[in-house]
Amino acid sequence: MAVKDYIRERFFPHIWCPGCGHGIVLNGLIRAVEKLGVQKNEIVMVSGIGCSARIAGYLDFHTMHTLHGRALGFATGIKLSRPELKVIVPMGDGDALAIGGNHFIHAARRNIDMTAIVMNNRIYGMTGGQYSPLSGYGILASTAPYTSVDQSFDIVQLAAAAGATFVARTTAYHIQQMIELLQEAILHKGFSVVEVMSQCPTYFGRRNREGDAVAMLKHMQKITTPIGSKAKAEHPELIERGVFVRKELPEYCEAYDTIIRRAKEGK
């Protein structure tokens, strides 16, 4: 199918700023779904609130645009009632890990079969550039005019420690890797987390003098490296890209079904 068959064309051109990384995630996700050959009506996309969350409105899957930070809660209900559907939950870093942090760690711990995509632009884009738990130390934001003194989460480490059974990271620059990782994450049975480092040129880029979208993408290329590369050994500050966790554990809906069966049989 063509790209246009996966989108709701009536909402285009979309609302995102010129060069917003979230648009590249939209692009990559469409290609991942196309390559997998999954039917549109086999996918439910559940999002919260944020620039990132608007991605759900642009895609012609079953979609739900819910509450800030609560997308995983809604998604859990959908998955438990219709486990045959593929559930994809795109979230901003604030959505996933500030207000939604608790939903995030518990969805990971339960290993419920869904794909969480964290579109990490290290800022609250939609509300005007407040710092997020991913901004990190020394970052300028509208709520940190003299720079942030908060340390940031490491999404990969957090997801892995919380129990996610597939954990990966890539960037908006590394589009081919993004497409591959999203495919694998969607196929993985269990809770999958894909962090996509994304650029918000409007708030993060401008305020932190990282320049426009092109400059921000070049920066991502420079500060990341494949997992275990030689460059990483020489420059430990580089951020690794690739698959960090890939393991099998009982999936939540299946485990729950087993319990229901046992209860019915009375043993």
């Binding site: 790209v3 692009n27 497409i179």
Partner: protein, 75 residues
């Protein structure tokens, strides 16, 4: 698979926001910004149909069409 030959770049001028991503990261320097800040293919003969511009466009505004795909469309 045979090397794909370019048929055309389809650039949706209504959707292109002139971010310059496709232009900057094309290894063959096929694209440029026109006077209205829209991407334009100025050296199509150099295009190797890698489609990276198409995949990286945040606005889904550029499509690189290869010859055989066109035949497929018709057939």
């Amino acid at each position: 698979m045979a090397k794909r030959k370019l048929k055309e770049h389809r650039i949706n001028r209504e959707w292109c926001k002139g971010c310059g991503i496709c232009i900057e990261f094309c290894a063959k320097k096929v694209l440029e910004m026109d006077q209205e800040d829209k991407a334009q293919a100025v050296r199509p003969e150099d295009c190797v149909v890698c489609k990276l511009c198409e995949m990286r466009c945040p606005d889904l505004a550029i499509e690189v069409v290869a010859e055989e795909e066109v035949e497929e469309d018709i057939g």
